[in-house]
């Protein structure tokens, strides 16, 4: 039985380039007992292009969807895409804090938006609403080889007044979610560093440089894969990795997974189900060692039993020594 | 009902621990109860207990120095709690006989129903009715229809503090959100309507100060600034302005203290809805400080304390 229900706005990327994000997110939500209901007749959120042209118009694009969700009586909307999220949050804040702006926007809409929808990123609902305990509870498989650098991108947590989620400079939600799965996470300094975003086309050199930094910092941090929560980040880091290698003379071969894919793997879904084959840099070798959690625990316990004998004895001896002196 | 008998028994038991017990006896006609101060147990036979016993007897407590027993209803008990909050009485010197109450009657409302005829006889039946006999016949009225306004939203039919409880506690069956419904409705009127309303009401005021003197929380009594020259807040002129000012003084001094017992309104010979102003302030106190008067002896009256950061008070923009 579903414990929670959200209106699910997948957005355009998840219909195309980030299909695997959509697939894996839906599967993970199913495991966690969360119902996702897609609003009927949703439309473009406006994304970056709209608000660079006209704020009222941009808000109207987002608010049209919010108005649809408002009618669904679910209350909370979730979207995996940080761009969509920002568009919704900005429209909502603008319209609830400024009555005149609200009227302007609603003028453009068939159905007015009254401000009754809360928008949250998929990461936020997993981290805050589902909770780490539940996340850990559902784990069926261990991923012993993964060393993950969690990469949040620039707008998941910023600007803080709008995002209202996690620490804007050093976010930890994704790190904690992945840790809760039992997967190793590496402390990573460039969690929110810019990847170049949509400038991949007009300013390729700049994106190469920025993406290079993000990738090399992950490698320096000792990670062997990167977890992301943004379709555009994924695209820059994964699809353009070869391009970066060529331009910067590097030889990165670091898979870039959606964090939901890692969750899916830990919850026992097959790589095929999770559309792992859509990744450009293959994660195949890293996830080969996936092993059911029970087996993994048994193995570890055996190892520990063997290893711990000696140090324990040493510790006891030391304690006795201090007593004497 | 047997409550009267039980009260009598209880009173007999608490003597001589107390010197006086304040309860009710029949007043000058069948429709009126009047306060009854008992000083020897034998007097108890004249005690009455029925829905005529509307008056809030606790008003007498702060001025009595000796140990007293007192009969209180749920609403009256809030006064005692407010006294305790403000340190106005010594709990050890009061023996509280609490009586759960299903509603009292408003003499004014009954008189309106019977056309202000002199009353020959009054009886209460078992179905919650009052039967009033006059020269012109008999009238049966549901108590719920002739109760004071406070009873219609009563949240505390059972006393919140007592030493002896008569009968079984009763739970309120009135929705909490209705308590300030009348205030919200009145507030929705236009400023002009409200101003005109109060001017019409206050114009009748004869400054007899019955509202003030009957008010259990009007602790100044003889020192009330309505009558002093030092300070000289209002004159003895009978202008509307002075009457308005007097009622604002009354309201302001009861801010966060009014226990909504309705005495001020009950005693007003001019039928002025004096309690309304105080109820409005109470509604704001609830909203601003989540404070309700007379329910918790450990609360602090909101006007005599503060928070460095007030959650509900926002700076006003011009």
């Amino acid at each position: 039985m579903a414990e929670k229900e959200y209106a699910y706005f997948s957005g355009c990327s998840l219909e195309g380039t980030a299909k695997e994000y959509d697939t894996s997110f839906r599967l993970v939500m199913k495991t966690l007992g969360v119902t996702l209901t897609e609003p009927e007749d949703w439309s473009c959120c406006g994304s970056t292009p709209a608000h660079t042209v006209d704020h009222v118009f941009a808000a109207a694009l987002a608010a049209r969807n919010l108005a649809i969700v408002e009618k669904m009586n679910i209350g909370t909307l979730t979207t995996p895409c940080p761009s969509c999220l920002m568009a919704f949050k900005k429209a909502h804040l603008g319209m609830t804090e400024d009555e005149a702006f609200k009227d302007q926007v609603n003028e453009l809409l068939d159905e007015p938006y009254e401000g009754g929808v809360i928008s949250k990123s998929s990461l936020q609902i997993i981290y805050e609403d589902v909770g780490l305990e539940k996340i850990a509870e559902k784990v069926t498989h261990a991923l012993p080889d993964l060393k993950v650098a969690a990469y949040y991108g620039c707008i998941m947590n910023r600007p803080p007044d709008v995002a209202q989620f996690d620490d804007p400079e050093n976010p930890v939600a994704m790190d904690r979610v992945i840790s809760a799965l039992g997967v190793e996470v590496r402390d990573y300094a460039f969690k929110t560093e810019c990847c170049g975003a949509a400038f991949g086309v007009p300013k390729r050199a700049m994106v190469n440089e920025l993406t290079y930094k993000v990738l090399s910092m992950a490698v320096d941090a000792g990670a062997n894969c990167i977890a992301v929560a943004c379709p555009l980040c994924q695209q820059n880091l994964d699809l353009r990795q070869e391009q970066v290698n060529r331009a910067m003379g590097a030889s990165f071969n670091i898979p870039v997974l959606y964090f939901t894919q890692i969750m899916g793997l830990a919850y026992g879904y097959s790589p095929k189900e999770l559309d792992m084959d859509k990744l450009v840099v293959s994660a195949g070798p890293l996830i080969k060692t996936r092993i059911p959690i029970a087996e993994y625990r048994a193995m570890k316990e055996a190892e520990a039993a063997a290893a711990k004998k000696t140090p324990k004895a040493r510790e006891a001896k030391e304690a006795a020594k201090t007593e004497e002196s | 009902m047997n409550n009267a008998e039980q009260i009598k028994e209880t009173i007999a038991r608490i003597f001589p621990d107390v010197e006086t017990v304040i309860c009710y006896q029949q007043g000058f006609d069948g429709l009126h109860a009047t306060p009854y101060f008992i000083s020897i147990p034998e007097q108890v036979n004249k005690l009455i207990w029925n829905p005529l016993c509307a008056q809030n007897l606790t008003s007498y407590l702060p001025s009595i120095k000796k140990k007293v027993g007192i009969v209180v209803k749920g609403c009256d008990s809030r006064t005692i709690i407010q006294y305790l909050q403000e340190g106005l009485i010594d709990r050890a010197k009061v023996v509280i006989i609490g009586v759960p109450c299903t509603g009292v009657i408003s003499v004014k409302k009954v008189l309106r129903e019977i056309g202000h005829q002199p009353v020959v006889d009054v009886v209460f039946d078992d179905n919650g009715n009052i039967v009033v006999k006059t020269q012109k016949g008999e009238k049966r009225l549901a108590i719920a229809d002739v109760c004071p306004d406070k009873c219609t939203t009563c949240q505390y039919p059972t006393p919140l503090v007592y030493d002896h409880l008569i009968g079984e506690p009763i739970a309120s069956n009135k929705p909490k959100e209705d308590v300030y419904k009348d205030i919200r409705e009145f507030d929705a009127k236009t400023l002009e309507e409200k101003r005109a309303y109060w001017e019409k009401e206050f114009e009748r005021c004869i400054r007899c100060y019955a509202c003030r003197n009957a008010c259990p929380m009007c602790i100044c009594q003889d020192s009330c600034i309505a009558e002093t020259r030092e300070p000289h807040w209002i004159s003895q002129r009978l202008s509307l302005q002075e009457k308005f000012m007097f009622h604002m003084i009354h309201a302001a001094h009861l801010a966060g203290r009014c226990v909504e017992c309705g005495e001020c309104e009950r005693v007003c010979p001019m039928d002025i809805p004096v309690a309304k102003l105080k109820k409005k302030i109470n509604a704001e106190m609830k909203e601003l400080f989540n404070y309700e008067t007379g329910v918790n002896p450990d609360d602090k009256p909101p006007m005599y304390t503060f928070n460095v950061d007030e959650a509900k008070i926002k700076e006003h923009k011009l």
């Binding site: - | 004014k108 202000h116 009748r204 007899c208 002129r237 005693v267 039928d271």
Partner: protein, 370 residues
């Protein structure tokens, strides 16, 4: 012209309109649920079926009146020289009090002795009194708490009235009491009342029998001085009094007042306003001392004034008209007739005296039964 008039009920408004031609007519009008004397006009609702909540006393003796206004004047050439200019205005229109009850009208007689029948008559009161015609309506039945017959009055007592009306089924029988009142009979809506006079007298007599007399019949109450001066008595009988002024301000015979100067920077007024002996401030002296600091002493004064001091000064006239308002509207139902009853009864006195001797608390409740 007959000595008796008759006013058919349907013509009562015409009658009032006619009176209003050359006078301000104060009549008992319904306001919300209460009845007050108001300057009568078409849009008001006349209410004659019960006594007004307040007596009409403020018509002749306003609750607050400006005795005079004063203004400081500086000499234009020398600002050190200052004079005070006084302005008093006692211009009063002709007034009619219509629908007062006999007790209300009798109240004015109590005032007359104080304000007019003295060496220094009060011009403000006298002027109003002289300019006012009092048209009284006799009571067909007693009101809750009233006891006029016990204090020298009655439901058709004529003292203080200029005209006495008595209600019959179809109209009012009008009996002039004074010369001033006789003029009423000339009003054109007034018919000959002779045929109805007998009926009216019957109604009056019947009403008289119905009014309660808490004291001994056919005799004015006599107060026992010793009990009157016993503090314990007052502490017992008025313990419940809240010391407000409802009784005095609603009383047709209470006339105590206060005089204050209300001053701004350059001008001001001398104001006379009702005061009440039930208030602490009534006897508060400038020094801070108060000879009557407790409500017991103050209540004692109220009873004393009405039943001892006033009668002593004015040939035994009791300054209480028995209207019952102080009982009806008392917040705590203090019953002055009950208290006076204790005071006059010699048997009671013995009881109180004995309880005083024994040092026990006298007990009102139980004695009342005996």
């Amino acid at each position: 012209m007959s000595d008796t008039g008759y006013l058919p009920k349907e013509k009562i408004k015409d009658f009032l309109k006619e009176l209003a031609k050359d006078a301000v007519v104060y009549a008992p009008c319904l306001e919300g649920d209460i009845v007050l004397f108001r300057p009568f006009s078409e849009e008001r609702t006349l209410c004659l079926d019960r006594p007004a909540n307040t007596p009409p006393k403020s018509v002749i003796y306003p609750q607050s009146e400006t005795l005079f206004a004063f203004q400081y004047k500086k000499a234009p050439e020398d600002h050190q020289k200052m004079s005070v200019e006084l302005k008093a205005d006692i211009g009063v229109p002709n007034m009619v009090i219509f629908g007062a009850r006999p007790c209300d009208a009798k109240g004015f007689r109590i005032y007359d002795r104080v304000f007019i029948e003295t060496n220094t008559p009060d011009p403000y009161y006298r002027k109003r009194r002289e300019n006012t015609l009092i048209v009284t309506l006799s009571c067909a039945a007693p009101s809750p708490g009233c006891f006029c017959v016990a204090v020298g009055g009655g439901p058709a007592h004529k003292e203080g009235s200029d005209v006495m009306m008595t209600e019959l089924e179809g109209g009012y029988v009008i009996e002039p009491v004074t010369e001033k009142g006789r003029a009423i009979l000339g009003k054109h809506v007034i018919e000959d009342g002779k045929p109805y006079l007998k009926d009216a007298q019957h109604v009056q007599a019947k009403a008289h029998d119905e009014v309660r007399n808490p004291f001994a019949p056919d005799e004015l109450p006599k107060i026992s001085q010793s009990l009157f001066n016993f503090d314990g008595f007052w502490e017992q009988v008025v313990g419940k009094c809240v010391s407000c002024g409802a009784c005095t301000y609603l009383c047709p015979t209470c006339y105590c007042f206060n005089i204050t100067d209300e001053q701004g920077i350059g001008s001001g007024e001398r104001v006379r306003s009702w005061d009440a002996c039930m208030f602490f401030h009534f006897t508060l002296e400038a020094s801070g001392h108060n000879p009557r600091p407790t409500k017991f002493q103050r209540f004692k004064n109220r009873v004393g004034h009405k039943f001892i001091y006033y009668p002593e000064k004015y040939e035994g006239v009791i300054a209480c008209c028995g209207c019952g308002r102080c009982i009806r509207y008392c917040p705590v139902n203090v019953d002055i007739s009950e208290i006076v009853n204790y005071l006059k009864d010699t048997h009671q006195e013995l009881h109180w005296a004995s309880s005083r001797k024994e040092g026990t608390q006298p007990t009102v409740g139980s004695t009342k039964d005996e």
